[in-house]
Structures are given as C-alpha cells and as structure tokens.
Symmetry: C2
Subunit: 140 residues, 2 copies
Amino acid sequence: MKESYKTKQREEILAFFRQHPGQHLTAGQLCAALDGVSKATVYRLLDRLVQEGALRRYTLRGGQAACYQYSGGHSHCQEHYHIKCTQCGRLFHVQSPAMNRVAGELKEQQGFTLDSSMTVLYGICRECAEKGDTTTKSDG
Amino acid sequence: MKESYKTKQREEILAFFRQHPGQHLTAGQLCAALDGVSKATVYRLLDRLVQEGALRRYTLRGGQAACYQYSGGHSHCQEHYHIKCTQCGRLFHVQSPAMNRVAGELKEQQGFTLDSSMTVLYGICRECAEKGDTTTKSDG
DNA sequence: ATAATTGCAAACACTTTGCACCTGT
DNA sequence: ACAGGTGCAAAGTGTTTGCAATTAT
C-alpha cells in the first residue's frame, strides 16, 4: 500500500472529525465545511481514511450520500445501532438490548455473526410520524 | 392515492418479476431486459409498485443501485427479516421473534416505527466464518 | 529527487423531472 | 372526456477520474 503524506488537507479533515465526535458526516457536509479542501480531495481522503481505519463508512442507500464517522482507531462502541428515518433521512444512534438478543439468536440459530457497525434499521422517526407526513422521499 | 391504470408497461414489469421469483433486480437490469419500457417509466413504476406493496425495495451493498423484489402481492409477512453476508453477498430470510421485540423497544423508547421490509442486517454467515476468510468486501 | 497529493473540470452511474403526446376507463 | 401513463432528453445527486501543477519526504 502507498504511503500517506501528512498534508494540510488531510489534517483539516481529521481535525473536523475530531471536532464532531460520534457524528455522521457526508462528503458534501465536509466539502461545505472545509473551505480549503476540494471536492475530489475530500472524496479521495475519505476513501483513504476508511481504508486506514481512521473512519467508518456507512452506505445508507444507493443514490444517497454515504456517511463517515471518526473511529479514533478503535471500535469500542460495538453496542450501538443505527436507525434511519426513511422520511426525513436523519440517522440516529440507539442502544438496544433487544438488538443484542437478536444478534445472539442469529448466532445460535444460523451461525450468523451480526455486524452492528454495518447495519442500519429503517423506519419512521417520531417527528415524521407526528407530522403524519405521507410524503416519503421516494421510498414507500 | 391515484388510481393505477393497467398498462402494457406495468404488466411487463410485473411479468418479469414473476418470471424471476425471489430475485433482486435493479432498475438497470429491468431497463435492459424490458425492451418496450423506457427508463423513466421503469423508475416510476418501480416506485409505484413499492408503494402499492407489490415489490420490496432493498439497498444492498456492493452496488449503488437499489434492488427490487417481488413480494407476491401481500406484504403481511411482518415476521421475517433479511440478513446479508458482507463476505459472500448472499441474502437470507430469517424468522426472528427477538426482532419484533426490537421493534417494540424502538417504538417505546424513541417513537421510532421500524420498517422490517426495508431493513437488512449485515454480518458474516456461518460458511464464510468457517472459511475463516478475512477478506471483507470492504465498502467502496 | 521522486513519490504522493491536490484542484479543476469533465465523466460517471443512478435517479428524477418537465413537457408534449398517448392510453385506459 | 379526462385522469392517468409514457417517452425523451435534460437536469439532479453523489462520486470518480485524467492530468498538470504542487507538496511532503
């Protein structure tokens, strides 16, 4: 694998992630926030940082923007899951004991090892439900 | 909701899904396979059929394109979920009472209504785990 | 010196949309 | 007749890439 030079752009991106701990950021958000970094470089760096393990990528839906999260090198928050509202598109973190039970169940019954960091549960969030808004973002 | 007319294009798409039971098809595949249906119509019909419950839409990793699967007209099988192996890429169906408990938990704690038909759990299937293969299909 | 990185804009893949015309009821 | 559907091509997103110039080591 190639060597990674320590550049201004690289440091800017990492700094931004450190300033937003635990958050999910899209390439677009980074482009907007980081003035001194071009779009192409943001994407290239994002890819690279995922490869290197500094970030995690969540591919939420085809056609929609991927989200990146700073992993600080370690993945100690294995226990949380992601839920995404199919209406407003927001992503939330949740602790879910029941979900851990699902993981156990899958392991026993199917020998399937659930990867919580890759899994996103879809549905409708409270706010959208209360709005009673039926206008879905192109998803049924 | 609007009424749905029975058109040649609509029937062609449904026929194609019936000819490919259980398969996941992308809009692109349908465009290629169905000569007499334009791209725009494929997308419009796909959306519509998802709304109507005739198809299910999934976002599978490894490709950006959304996949659609024929659901046989009834979408009342709330009890089953999908798990996908991030290594071999296979998709499995599972019954999971525990998953329904997750749905309940999310509803209570977050007011979040889980949509099981949109949700795919990711992880490693037994076979791939036994192979001890560490070559994950990464992300990009 | 030289390998890696950057910016720009153009290319891409997937999906949506505006509009005039066609079809099902 | 009229609500609804269709094709086309253009417009949108989000992401990638070719290439010459720039920067880190």
